[in-house]
Every structure is written in structure tokens, then in C-alpha cells.
Symmetry: C2
Subunit: 349 residues, 2 copies
Amino acid sequence: MNVQNDSLEASSGLGPRILLDGHGGDRAPSVVFDALELLLATAEGDDLQLGVVGTDAVAEAMQARGLAERIVHVPARDVIEMCDAPAVVVRRKKQSSMHVGARLLRDGAWDAFVSAGNTGALMAISKLILKTLNGIDRPAIASMIPTRSGGKTLFLDVGANVDCTSDHLLQFALMGHAYMQAAEGIEKPRVGLLNIGSEDIKGTDVIKVAAAAMESLPIAFVGNVEGTDLFSGEVDVVVCDGFVGNVALKTMEGTARFLADGLKQALLSGTRARMGAMLAQPALRAFREQFNPGRYNGAPLLGLNGIVVKSHGSADAEGLANALRVAVREVRAGLLSRINVLLSEWNEA
Amino acid sequence: MNVQNDSLEASSGLGPRILLDGHGGDRAPSVVFDALELLLATAEGDDLQLGVVGTDAVAEAMQARGLAERIVHVPARDVIEMCDAPAVVVRRKKQSSMHVGARLLRDGAWDAFVSAGNTGALMAISKLILKTLNGIDRPAIASMIPTRSGGKTLFLDVGANVDCTSDHLLQFALMGHAYMQAAEGIEKPRVGLLNIGSEDIKGTDVIKVAAAAMESLPIAFVGNVEGTDLFSGEVDVVVCDGFVGNVALKTMEGTARFLADGLKQALLSGTRARMGAMLAQPALRAFREQFNPGRYNGAPLLGLNGIVVKSHGSADAEGLANALRVAVREVRAGLLSRINVLLSEWNEA
């Protein structure tokens, strides 16, 4: 697919300037260009200013795809691998695409950075270069999960901070509130604290203190919620520490895969079942599509002084395009200043 | 269904003596008698000595069911409610069915106690009366989960201890190992530590210390596992603290319910889908049955100086019968002395 001239001209618009990481993830850089083409083929790409940061190989791939006139190539010399230890590469690979992206974001040359690379490295580098917002000790990774009512729940932290204090949990709650308000347009997001029972007496001391303090935050705190409530649609933001959040997220993934395998086996278990499956195939496909993780791809790194979005390493073009849309929504909604306002209100109170 | 005379006589056998709680759970006491009838109707009930502890109302229900000759009624005056705070009732309702059951277990009158009541109260009362095994600081609740390969994985702790030290995790690993060996007949159970990545550098300090120490335990420690691995069948025991375990367990439950709802909706979404679902119904029913939580019902409370099994409050007769079978297996396998041997070997080393 070639980009047409009219969208080329539209590219000089003044919409969000989004920089993508040309490295990282299972299918870079081709999936990056596929995702960009998807966006550029529709009106939603019209006012976007798009760039890809990476090595010469990335620039060449961009040329070969005929995208060089529509997308800016930002040169970088190093590549962060999935197996790189974040604490090491943060200081060693200073010319990596992540470092270059974060520096350009800090300097105001771009509005957001999207990467499907090494999560720990992305967080460490972003934190080092962008710093955190005033009042935020630790940034969090937030994941969007589908709910029974057809909505979405923001779940954070899903892996950035294994040990959290009550204050960290409060900060996550404020950021989650601001995100759902700004990027998803929910006026009064209901915020819950993940616990092992709905009663006040449950949980660790950190959680009990956080729950008590959340009552006085300027948000709609609904109290303790449990693992079974994550999909209920009765809460818009669920807060927990990064260890628990990561385990819960991967347990969801494992449960879904396990059940999907079992269903597949059952539907292949005999002639009658196969015939039934054939008839129900369009419905089953729609069901699968509804829960396609790509639909919810794009995990905001919240609390940084800059908009950074993590795409799943295995995301396809549609999934990566969704991560890009998350970044676009954050920019358009002015998420950072909204979090800043909320934090200063809270600090003054 | 009435119990026949031949099984009545067989009841004087010398098999495991299992005492059930006549209170607690959604459908007590009728479901208790249903479950006992299920067992007594088959050969597996032949050598069991069975009792139900509860108030006069329980004794009357037993009479009415015609079970009084086959099952012993053990009187208790108090009932622990689901809403009772464990820390309160442990000292206040000393004549509850749980207290009476635990005391009789301690005194050697029965071999195991099975209850579908308030989990926290069951744990607190059992701990107070039975004490823990030598070398165990805190008992854990273990849950059995199905795996992709058709096997089972023991997951602990799923809620008894919200804060755990590395030593507690080591003790859970030893108990899980002993359980899978004794009750499930797995010669060398593979034991994993739940973490947020397979690398050694991941996780909290408590987990890093536990992982290093587990290497030197006399068990097949396979290292860190993740939430996605819980169903893989590549590990027989997964160890974590009770907060994380409880969240993971409830997240599984929530994910399964969410997906089942979605599937149902999809299969009702039109004539063609409905026809397909009708054809595939036997296969779909078998699929549902395979993952019926009742099949895995019966959570051992491990580390107590006595065999106590928790049944899910919503378990049906088949589910409760499974919890009873768990208790029977533990008794027959001599689980307590096996854990004791393992603990003294470890303490000497």
C-alpha cells in the first residue's frame, strides 16, 4: 500500500507528534510500518505528525516501503534487546532508540513516544531522562482490560514497582482517575483498591492505610475490590502494587489461553461438535475478536513527565496502531497537565 | 436415597474417620447429607467412618434423612456465620461446630475435619486448637487447579497469610511437595515460586531470598514461574504469599466467568450460532464439566497438626464429596507424618 499525496500534505497539520520505536517487539520494524500505514489510510491519521526512531536499517526499511516522505526518520545508533538488563543498558546504550526517543520527548520535539521493546528498559530510561511529575515518586504501568458491560477498566500498576508504600498506591489512584477522565472521557471514574476481601479489615497494612487515605482523595473511591471484580464493569480504575498486578494480568492471560485451548479441543472432539463449531464459527470468531488483546493494546506509563506508551511485544499492526491511538488520546486530552493539576490540588489539601 | 444395610455394616470398618461440619456454606446442612449419601452409595464409602458435627437442627435433619444409623452426630451448640470476624469468634463461640470438630481432631477421636464455613474462622480456630506442626510458623490454604495436560497443580498460599517472609515461603514449598507426593502420588513434584518474570533478578527481596534458599531444599525446585504458567502442567506446586495467591485465584475465577458469559452471548447471537451451539452442546457440556470448580473442590489447610479441609461455600454435593475425598486421601497417605519427616530432615540440615 502506498501513501497518497493528499494525506502527505495533510501531514503538515498541527496534530499530535508521535514518535515510534523502530526496534523492540517480535516483528519490528515491519510491524511498525504496517501500523503506521493503517493509521495513514484513514482520516484519523490526517493531522498526525509521525516519526520512527532507529538505526540505518530502519531508515532503509522505511524507504523501501515508500514511507519516507510521510514519516520522519530519527536516527539512533544502539538497539535495546529484550534480554538486556534495564539497570545496565540505561547507562550503557545511551544512543539507543529508547534513549533518543526519551530525550526528544523531554526537549519538546515530540509529544509522545511509543515502544514495543523491553518494558523494564523503557521504564528505566524514561524515568532517568523524563523524570517523574511533581508529586509522583514512582511511575506505574497501566493496562486496559475489557469488562462484562462492554467497557474498560484501567488496572495499575502491572509491573513497574514490586514494592509499594501506601503513598505510591494513592498516587496510582490519582493518576488512574486522571487518565480515565482525560483519555476515556469518564466524568467520575470509580476507583477501587485490589484486596482479598471487601471488608476493611482485610489485606496488608500498606493496603489498609492506603484505603483509609483514599477516602479523603478528590476521587470517587469505591473501596476494596477483588480479583473477581476486575471484569465486572463496576469499577473504572483498579489500583494495586506492581507485583500483584503483574501476577493478576498474567493469570488472566493464562486462564484465557487455558480455556480457549479447552474449548477448541471440545469443538474438535467429534463430527457433531465439528459441525456445530462450523455453524457457530462466525459467532465464535466475533467472540474471539471481542477479546483480542490487540484491542486493548497500549499500556500508558503514568507518572512520567512525558507521554510514553508501551505496546505488547507480540502485538500485530492493528494492536500497535491501538497503542498509537492511546498516545494520541493522551496528547489530545492534555493528560500531563490534568495529572499535574490534580497532584497540586492534593498536595495543597 | 436410603442407605442399605450392607453398607451400614461395612461402616464399622477401620478406614479413615472423617468429621464434617454441619454448618457453614450456602446449602448446609442438606448438601452435607447429599454428599455423604453420594459417598455411601459407592464402594469408596465402605470403610469410612463418618460424622457430622452441629446443633440439634442438624441431628434432626440427619434423622429425617434416615442417615442416623450410618453417620454419627456430634453435638455442638454454636454456629459460626460467614460474616463473623475470625479474631472475635475464635474466643467467643467456643461451642461452635468448628471448635468442637477441631478439639475432637486434636484428641484423636477423628482423623480429619471438613468444613464449608467461614475460611478465616476455620483457620483461626484450627490453629488455636490444633497448633501447627513443628517447624511450621504459619499454616497455608492450598488450592488445586487444573492444568492443560489434564493434571493438577497445587497452589498455595491462597489466602491465609497476607504477609509472608522467605521462611514462610520455604515452609509452603516443603508442605506442597509433601502433599503432592502423599496425596497425589507424584514421586518428584516440581515446585515453582510465583514471580513476575523467570529471571533471578525479578521480584521482591522476600522472593529473591526464598528462591535462593529453595535451591538447597530436598525438593525439585524449578525456579520462578509466572501467572501464565499456573495452568501449564509444567509445575506441580506453585508457592506464593496469601495475598498474591488469593488475588490470582479470584482473577482466574473472574476471567473464567467473564469468558463463559461472552461465549454464551456469542452462541445466542443469531439463528445460525444457536443451531451450531445445539449441535455442539454435548461437547460444550463436557468442556464445562471438565472445568467445573467442584471437581477441584477441597482446599487442604496445610501445616496444622491435624487434617483440615476447606470446601467452597457454594459447592454442591459432588463438590463437597470431592473435599471429603481430599481428606480421605490425606489420612490414608499419612500426610502429617510425611510433612513431619521432611521438616525434621530440613531442620537438621
